[in-house]
């Protein structure tokens, strides 16, 4: 029983990270039809910005985190949009997808060559005190991961539904042409989405790297799992991304503990195919009205 609870809680904590990455992915997909295959690397990179801040510029941790966040927003938000998405999107979605794949390699290899090929320790943001829950152990880190990602979802939903900017962003995502007619600054709204995506990726990076360690290859599996979480949960819903993320986190751990550790990495594929066959719009998604 305590084993089950342990696996469940740990799965939720991991899943909440998948959810954060999946949300950003969903937002960018909706706003700019951009399928970002470098999303995993977007989560790998910010931790290294923090490490650079600390080791090269001698910043204390909290300053370095802010530094890392700012650089991430500039590089993974603004520069990504201006230098890659904007010039390539007119050539078509597939071209852009391939460009983001190349970008993933570029980021990964750059970190490996210019920083280190080996894993690096990353300072923990929260004390590592274990919390005992009916025989299962959670760290404060796990609890914060869960609380922060749920909090982000609530805040983001409020922002999108209650503020003017948020509503403009939604209008842009649904129908850019109409939004433009209604006087929405479509370009700016799309830029905002990229900034939010970059910020979410940085946040996820800061939350997981203390446990996962900073390594250039960290994005490889994370990216794939986040895509699948987004698809499984339902692409056009922020709630979908969080549901998909948590579901994969929990199922992955349950599979490893009770079914097969050798095939645990196959779980996302199985889930993906089942969803495509049974409910292509995702668990919480609504089928899109557009057909033509």
């Amino acid at each position: 029983m305590s084993q089950f609870l342990q696996v469940l809680l740990s799965g939720l904590a991991t899943g909440s990270i998948y959810a954060l990455v999946a949300i950003g992915f969903t937002l960018v997909w909706q706003a700019a039809q951009t399928v970002n295959f470098a999303q995993g690397e977007f989560v790998m990179l910010p931790a290294f910005f923090v490490l650079i801040g600390m080791s090269v510029f001698g910043m204390p941790l909290w300053i370095a985190l802010i530094f890392g966040l700012a650089i991430s927003i500039v590089v993974l938000g603004v520069l990504f949009k201006k230098m890659i998405v904007e010039p390539i999107l007119p050539h078509g979605g597939i071209t852009l997808i391939i460009a983001t794949m190349a970008l993933g390699i570029l980021l990964k290899e750059s970190v490996k060559e210019f920083y280190s090929a080996e894993a690096q320790p990353f300072p923990s943001l929260f004390p590592g005190d274990p919390i005992n829950v009916f025989g299962a152990v959670l760290s404060l880190q796990d609890v914060f991961n869960l609380v922060i990602s749920l909090g982000i979802v609530v805040l983001l939903t409020l922002f999108l539904n209650r503020t003017r900017t948020g509503r403009c962003m939604q209008a842009t995502a649904q129908n850019p042409a109409v939004a433009e007619i209604l006087g929405v600054n479509v370009k700016r709204m799309i830029l905002y989405t990229f900034l939010i995506n970059a910020a979410l990726a940085a946040l996820a990076s800061f939350l997981i790297t203390p446990v996962y360690l900073a390594k250039f290859s960290n994005g490889e599996t994370l990216g794939l799992i986040a895509f699948i979480a987004a698809i499984v949960g339902g692409f056009n819903q922020i709630r979908g991304a969080i549901a998909g993320g948590l579901l994969i986190g929990v199922l992955d751990n349950l599979t490893a503990a009770y079914v097969t550790a050798q095939y645990r990495a196959a779980l996302p594929l199985v889930l993906l195919i089942v969803i495509i066959l049974v409910r292509p719009q995702g668990i919480l998604g609504t089928s899109e009205g557009r057909t033509v």
Partner: protein, 378 residues
């Protein structure tokens, strides 16, 4: 002290040998994982070799000929490694040093064999010396030698009745796991949990929960560096209480750096370790390595170093550059550190190319690995 002595000798030798230097060189190819996932191991291996070659050339080279070292990067890809061993041989290499990843070695050693070129490898998978290849030689004991050395520790020191094994599911981990399970069976110790994990896995919650549930007397941990560190971190979080014992990796400096306090108390059996500084040759090498490359050597660096020096020692025993004679000489050869100081520890190779030498038990105490015992060669 010893170090200064060595330097004096080498400088003197350099002075004399420099004048009598022949134009001819001995070509040696380093084929290693300089990029890709194996890069940390491969670069250490190469840098260990670089130090050795510098020393050897300073002493006049092999049979009076300077070593001309060429590097080949396999990108940690077995197919590329095969092509590059071929390339090194096409370029006239007398010996090949590398590779480290067993998957690569398994394939490229065929090429060296076909061309009768001796090859020193850093791989530890049992299969490598079981293929009847007379030209392949290890620079550290294979898993089927290293892991059994641990059996007595589990049986006599820890007095374990039931154990668990957590291993990384690649050719390295699987080899170690199979030998371990076999050994435990022989020793009459029950294996109560067998937990494989993925290479580059990040989430060890389920693995540790399983181990905790099985509640063994000790856990054998056989993983690569960063996986070991993540495992230790999660083990500490879930307060896994029993001793965690590994082979080589678990107490490496990098793992301790990554796992921080979570590495405290971890135990490992280590073939050669840069921390065994009371062995004079190792201490001197570690120092030289650190001044040259600004980082501490790993056991891969020592392996590369030993491989290069063995090439020199044995070639000079043979007296000519002849791959087949070299291989023949190597089989059943024992080198004493007293006669051949750069071999670092008394080392023997059997007729299959497997090597054996004394080894150490190491435990992490106060954030540093400490030798807690030696294990005789087996």
């Amino acid at each position: 002290m010893y170090h200064k002595h060595l330097l004096a000798i080498s400088t003197a030798l350099l002075a004399t040998a420099g004048m009598a230097q022949a134009q001819e060189t001995v070509k040696i190819g380093t084929v290693a994982e300089l990029s890709g996932p194996g890069a940390p191991a491969g670069t250490n291996w190469r840098d260990g070799i670089k130090i050795a070659v510098e020393e050897i050339n300073a002493e006049g080279g092999i049979l009076g000929k300077k070593i001309e070292l060429s590097e080949y990067d396999t990108q940690t890809d077995p197919q590329v490694s095969r092509a590059l061993v071929q390339k090194a041989i096409d370029a006239g290499a007398y010996a090949i040093l590398g590779t480290i990843y067993s998957g690569s070695t398994m394939v490229n050693m065929l090429v060296a064999q076909q061309n009768s070129i001796p090859q020193f490898v850093g791989s530890e998978a049992p299969g490598i010396v079981e293929k009847g290849n007379p030209f392949v030689f290890r620079t550290s004991s294979g898993a089927q030698k290293g892991v059994p050395a641990l059996t007595t520790y589990f049986k006599d020191t820890l007095k374990a009745k039931k154990v668990a094994v957590a291993w990384v599911n690649n050719e390295f981990g699987k080899g170690g796991r199979n030998v371990f399970v076999e050994e435990m069976k022989k020793a009459g110790i029950e294996v109560v949990a067998d937990v494989p994990s993925e290479q580059a896995q990040t989430d060890y919650a389920a693995d540790i929960a399983k181990l905790k549930q099985a509640n063994p007397d000790a856990v054998f941990v056989y993983m690569n560096q960063e996986e070991s560190a993540r495992f230790l971190i999660e083990a500490k979080k879930q307060s896994l209480a029993m001793p965690l014992v590994g082979e080589v990796t678990l107490t490496e400096a990098k793992v301790i750096e990554l796992a921080g306090g979570a590495a405290e108390g971890a135990i490992a059996h280590v073939g050669v370790t840069a921390t065994a500084t009371d062995v004079p040759g190792i201490g001197a090498f570690a120092k030289k390595f650190e001044t040259t490359f600004k980082r501490r050597p790993t056991h891969d660096a020592i392996k590369g170093y030993v491989g290069a020096w063995t090439t020199k020692y044995v070639t000079e025993m043979v007296g000519e550059l002849d791959g087949e004679a070299f291989a023949e000489k190597m089989h059943g050869l024992c080198l004493k550190a007293a006669d051949h100081p750069k071999i670092l520890l008394d080392t023997c190779w059997d007729d299959r190319g497997e090597m054996s030498r004394p080894s150490f038990m190491v435990q992490v105490k106060n954030g540093a690995p400490v030798v807690i015992g030696t294990v005789p060669a087996n």
